[in-house]
Symmetry: none
Subunit: 202 residues, 4 copies
């Protein structure tokens, strides 16, 4: 049985995902968890503290698998990118996901706490930077002359936007979507077909 602390965070994610930070009141959260408002303040310093807790505790957990992908020694950069896209879209599209809140509501963090958010964002963006670097190394033409950080952010931005318009119940599956998005950006480097032959070394 989850603690109130955990239940509060879960409800926060659900509600802020749907209504945004300012659109979610502490009372709504309390009602959803079936506790009193004051209990929330017993566990968290303030409403903003809820966001911070999400960024510090829940987001890292959610980014863990992405890290495994980026560090997998057996994959080419292109394969990693493809795998990461699939994973990331899955995360983003999952109902109530923290990432949505993370990506959309972070701008409401007060200046004094913005550093915490930026740091966690940097860590995640770096994963993609790493993948892109590997792709560049394996294919000199890939993302040629492009600022690597901008590439990373652009890709992230593209995928994150899906949370807004992707229709889980529509006729296009999440896997199809991942494939399509991969194709959009993979035009600029050699298709993974070529690299598919699996790395004979090892």
């Amino acid at each position: 049985m989850p603690s109130n602390y955990d239940k509060i965070l879960k409800a926060t994610i659900d509600l802020m995902n749907e209504k945004g930070y300012h659109g979610t009141s502490v009372k709504m959260i309390a009602d959803k968890v079936n506790i009193s408002k004051s209990t929330i303040f017993h566990h968290f310093k303030s409403k903003e503290g809820l966001l911070l807790a999400l960024f510090e505790e829940v987001v890292p957990a959610a980014t863990n698998e992405a890290m495994l992908i980026a560090n997998d020694k057996n994959l080419t950069g292109a394969e990693k990118l493809k795998k990461w896209i699939r994973h990331h879209l899955n995360e983003v599209a999952t109902e109530g996901d923290v990432l949505n809140v993370y990506l959309r509501e972070s701008r409401f963090i007060s200046d004094s706490n913005k550093a915490i958010y930026k740091e966690s964002m940097r860590v995640y963006a770096n994963l993609i930077v790493k993948i892109i670097k590997q792709i560049q190394k394996e294919d000199k033409q890939a993302f040629k002359d492009l600022d690597i950080k901008i590439v990373a952010h652009s890709i992230l931005g593209m995928y994150n936007s899906a949370v807004i318009w992707f229709d889980k119940d529509g006729k296009i599956s999440l896997d199809d979507l991942a494939d399509m998005m991969y194709k959009i950006i993979s035009g600029s480097f050699q298709k993974p077909k070529a690299t598919r032959k699996k790395k004979t070394t090892k």
Copy 2:
């Protein structure tokens, strides 16, 4: 000298762009315009009425140039895309742009008014759809096997994300950014070599 009506809308854009719909109060807007709260209700039926007015009046104006680009008979699809990117990034990166509010705060519109928003969104997204279709027509390989709407949304998402991380005072200019982003997605279709005539074929 702009009317109060216009000043109110301008202030609404600025504030909602920064703080979101729920994070912006009628009082904030009134204070920014230096009028009384009541004056706002004199011009607009309600707070939501402000959003609607934006979507009905300001967004179309902002999308007007995009429409000119999309309909320009003298440009290839690739050229249009490039021109549109430049224009769109400029809009989005400009502080206080309506498009940001439009793209992010639309979800707070009440159900009864959602149709208005969806219609205007459809119109804008259609511009890109149109451009993409032209590109496909001119280059059969471009965006092959891809759902055209998803391509449009992905591209939009990518560009809109720039508003979050682009640093106006950084070392990369808006024009450079537009070029880079164009390159990222243009990999999948024939480069505008033809028009660029720069590339002496190496």
Copy 3:
């Protein structure tokens, strides 16, 4: 018929006089005036704004008569002191008087507003300083070697303390009290008996 603004201030005085600043809630004030809480915030910026308004508007009015006494050309210093004591005690002893609130609750003013309070206090204390100076001029022995500001504050402190222990319904009248207190401090200078003969000199 007094405006809500005035009624709010009056109720504030009454309540804070009885329960202190922190012991008086905005709701109590609203209930006493029979208006809604929000109306109070329509007229005053904050709870502290109520205190400030008292200090800026009501206290000056209350100190007006004291000023007339201090400036009366026909009275000796000793006479002025006596008259002021009587007046001041009356003010302080009257239930719900601003001066009580002023003297006791001023310490809850935030630092940023303390200057306003200090200035008004300085003005009032100066009246007594002025009276004491006149007494010293008329009787070289009076308050000899004493710092004049300390004398003024001490005297004020003595009189203001009466608000705590004076029993309006006890056997000692306010006038008796005024006489006694006058005697306590008048020991150090020539008794007004001597001066009573109206100052034939000029």
Copy 4:
């Protein structure tokens, strides 16, 4: 090392001295002592219990020396008064003194406990009454025709007010202040000069 019980009382004094009874929360006290709120309720029945404990335990201790002065067989009344003033001012001026809390916050005690406060106040005021009586006995002119309780309260009020305006870092020392205040009220009876020669009679 002081017990938590003692540390709580000390913190209570400090905080209520600065912010008053209603302005001091149990949490503030707990934070200052670095214990949990519950621990306070473990030692004291309620918040008001803290005040009562002060009045019953700390105040008597603080008034102990005053008692020694009042009962010293070797001093004249005037000498006692002077000595007491010096002592009292010292107590009052010391940061975080109980007496301030005692004198100012007693009015927030609930009716059912008011008797406890009044009794302790009576005891302390009686010390001065006693001193004044001795002065009157030694100098028939002193405080002639004055209600002795009112004299005592007035004197106390005068000295207690110092806590509000006395500036520890100003150019006037506490001893100077004691001297001046003594002079203000000693005008009405024979100056201690005369008595300084130790009173060989007896």
